[in-house]
């Protein structure tokens, strides 16, 4: 049994991570990891700074252990929330499930292996929370080497209990209800929920950090006894208290005992999980379907309505849009991102009242002075360009076809018109996102009408630019060889490349309007004419070189 479990774990890991297939793949993976790490550095250093300042306060009260309790409790909570999604996706909805069911394996072996895989994934998230806390605490309290050994052990075991809890909940739901029977529906809802969770977490962090400086307030919050945030967290998972105690008393016998207690409970939890997997898994996983066939039979009138003749380009663009809206991964990464990400990125700024007031004050100052510098328009244009480049609709337009690309080659629709059919959804969706963004900004900053009109006109040019560049990039180097839609969008470097080019263009626009000290109307004219020319040139490039590249494309 043991060897089966290990073999399976190894296979699942290799499958999931896709290691070692070609150097190109590896370099793109490295690029992604690098970007991810860079994205998280501010968050981690923020956490470390926060812990460090809070430590001083708590040490005065003789309560420094609370940091560890709440840190471990917090990471357990995060692991639990992530665990719910991981468990559904990896235990039930992953592509390999169907191929595992007919092998002579016990449910506990399949799920034991999958549990290990999920645990490894969870280390990435829990590590980002736990290690800054462990290290800062260790340095501040001057802990010995034993502390770090304990810390490492606890880090390895922390996911077990929350993941067991998440698994049991999901296994029971899958066994006895029809709640998540529809894969696409679940992925869509799950993605939206995860985004909402991320949004909430982001807002919460901003809220905490904004008040971090007020140490008195913090002290009151912590000394508030029964109802304080920290005690609640530790109450929610009593086990984290044992882990924390073993760390605080790592040099005494009590430390060893607490550690053993923690290890014992974790191991017990894992065995309970295996036992329940044996009882619940197979009956829950068998009969899952991608989508349910529940459409009613077409009536004569419906047939009449849907069979109206449309122009081929319109029909092609409509097909693209339908697939974008109905495929969960595409919807979340191409459509929803388009509308949610601007809001997500604006939160830090909007959560600080003085940020808005400062900007508004500057704008009012310019308006009163009668001369708005052109740079304001450069910045607006740059921002719209940047947000327009986030959605990845055109920069994955060819990649999304995958192994079905051949269909485009035998249908009697010229490549120029196909390219147009792929460009339209990107421009329409990007344009809609741009309008939303401009509307929010208008509501917040209340700029004069002519500035809003300029923003919209230039915004259209910016969206066109990013859509054209994205499509050119994806035609030049499409990622067609994929098995799951995830790979077409999330592991596609063209999205990143498109963003980089758009950021550069945005930077150039801001730089030129700044350095030349243009007035508002001059800047408007310059950007308008400049980007009309650039967009037209890009369009012509797409229709000549782009068409040639598609003709040469062979699977």
């Amino acid at each position: 049994m043991k060897s089966n479990l290990l073999t399976l774990t190894r296979v699942l890991l290799k499958n999931g991570i896709n290691l070692g297939a070609g150097s190109k793949k590896r370099s793109s993976r490295l690029g992604f990891t690098a970007v991810l790490v860079i994205c998280f550095i501010p968050l981690i250093s923020m956490l470390a700074g926060f812990v460090s300042s809070i430590y001083d306060v708590l040490a005065d009260l003789g309560q420094d252990g609370l940091i560890l309790t709440s840190g471990i409790g917090m990471s357990a909570l995060v692991i639990f929330v992530f665990g719910i999604f991981y468990v559904i996706n990896i235990f039930y909805f992953s592509e390999d499930v169907e191929n595992l069911l007919y092998l002579p394996l016990k449910p506990s072996q399949i799920l034991g292996a999958k549990f290990t895989v999920v645990t490894l994934y969870e280390y990435i998230t829990s590590g980002m929370i736990l290690w800054p806390i462990f290290i800062v605490f260790g340095m501040k309290s001057g802990a010995g080497p034993l502390y770090y050994i304990y810390a490492a052990l606890i880090f390895l075991l922390v996911p077990v209990i929350p993941l067991t809890a998440a698994s049991i909940i999901i296994m029971v739901i899958m066994r006895f209800t029809n709640l998540f029977r529809n894969k696409d529906m679940f992925k869509m809802m799950g993605g939206i929920l995860a985004l909402a969770f991320g949004l909430g977490l982001n807002a919460a962090i901003q809220w905490v950090v904004a008040r971090q400086t007020d140490l008195n307030q913090l002290q009151r919050l912590l000394a508030g006894g029964e109802n304080s945030l920290m005690t609640i967290t530790s109450r929610m998972s009593p086990v984290s208290t044992w882990a924390a105690k073993s760390l605080v008393d790592s040099h005494t016998l009590a430390g060893v005992l607490n550690l053993l207690l923690f290890i014992g409970v974790s191991v017990l939890a894992f065995f309970i999980f295996l036992y329940l997997a044996e009882k619940l898994y197979f009956k829950g996983v068998i009969g899952l379907s991608q989508t349910s066939a529940k459409g009613a039979v077409l009536t004569g009138r419906q047939l009449e309505r849907v069979s109206a003749e449309k122009s081929p380009v319109r029909s092609y663009a409509l097909k693209e849009l339908r697939i974008l809206l109905r495929t969960p991964v595409y919807f979340l990464n191409c459509i929803l991102v388009n509308f949610i990400l601007p809001v997500l990125l604006l939160i830090p700024m909007l959560s600080r009242q003085q940020g808005i007031e400062g900007l508004q004050g500057a704008l009012d100052g310019y308006l009163r002075g009668g001369r708005v510098p052109g740079m304001v328009l450069g910045i607006i244009f740059g921002a719209l360009m940047f947000f327009g480049s986030l959605n990845g609709i055109t920069s994955t337009a060819i990649s999304r076809e995958g192994h079905g690309m051949f269909v485009n080659k035998y249908i009697p629709l010229s490549y120029r018109r196909q390219i147009l059919g792929k460009l339209i959804p990107g421009v329409v969706m990007g344009g809609a996102g741009m309008i939303v963004l401009v509307s929010i900004a208008t509501a917040v900053f209340k700029p004069p009408a002519h500035l809003v009109a300029m923003a919209i006109i230039l915004g259209i040019l910016a969206v066109l630019f990013s859509s054209l560049v994205g499509l050119l990039l994806d035609i030049k180097n499409p990622k067609l060889n994929w098995d799951s839609e995830q790979q077409a969008v999330k592991q596609n470097l063209n999205v990143l490349l498109n963003m980089v080019i758009c950021i550069l263009a945005a930077g150039a626009a801001i730089f030129v309007t700044y350095i030349s000290n243009m007035g508002l109307w001059t800047a408007f004219a310059a950007l308008l004419i400049g980007f009309i020319i650039i967009d037209v040139l890009l369009y012509r490039l797409l229709m000549t070189r782009g068409v040639k590249l598609i003709i040469q494309l062979e699977d």
Binding site: A293, E304, Y410, P412
Partner: protein, 242 residues
Amino acid sequence: MIEIINVSKSYTGDIKAVDNLNLTVNDGEIFGFLGPNGAGKTTTIKMITGILNPDEGSIKVNGFDITKRPLEAKRQFGFVPDNPNMFLRLKGIEYLNFMGDIYNVPSDIRKERIQSLSKKFGMFKALNNKIQSYSHGMRQKIVLIGVLLHDPYVWIMDEPMTGLDPKSSFILKEMMRRHADDNKTVFFSTHVLEVAERLCDRVGIINKGRLLFCGSLDEMRARMDKDQSLEKMFLELTEDEE
């Protein structure tokens, strides 16, 4: 009519997937394209339909060169690929209308054909469901209906019978016969030699990219000087090559 003249194609290195192929499929005939796995059948079909570009030679469909006048050539044929897993997120009816729009099928004709074809293949009740919920055979059928929707002159089908239930398979074979009897062209590849034997007016046997035989079954028997089944002759022909 399909004319393949001196066509070669290699993927990597010197190994030719298709080697100097010459083949004419006439109007009014059902032509079966046979060969072992990896013989070059699908590569040939992909070149006829414009999915792959030939390295050498030319291909004409009803007189239109597929590389020089691709759009006109593509309007001449309907193509059923070997893998029907496409447009899975679209509903059956949406896929059919997409094909109708691409091939400019007028509304009234389209509506009538969708109804008659989908009823014929037992698909009408499923039209409002996503293709993803279809079984393999149903996916094959919806692709087939999409192709027949625009009533193409030349039918090109890669393993069209795979996955079809007996009734649909029977209907398709009947339709193929009728299409050829209307003096139009049917070209299909298959592994099922019994089907080829009963259905085809002529067959081509390809192995390792080369055409080993092209002609009617009687011609094959005459050439091999034996009165045998197609299966026996096929095995004998392709075995020599090993």
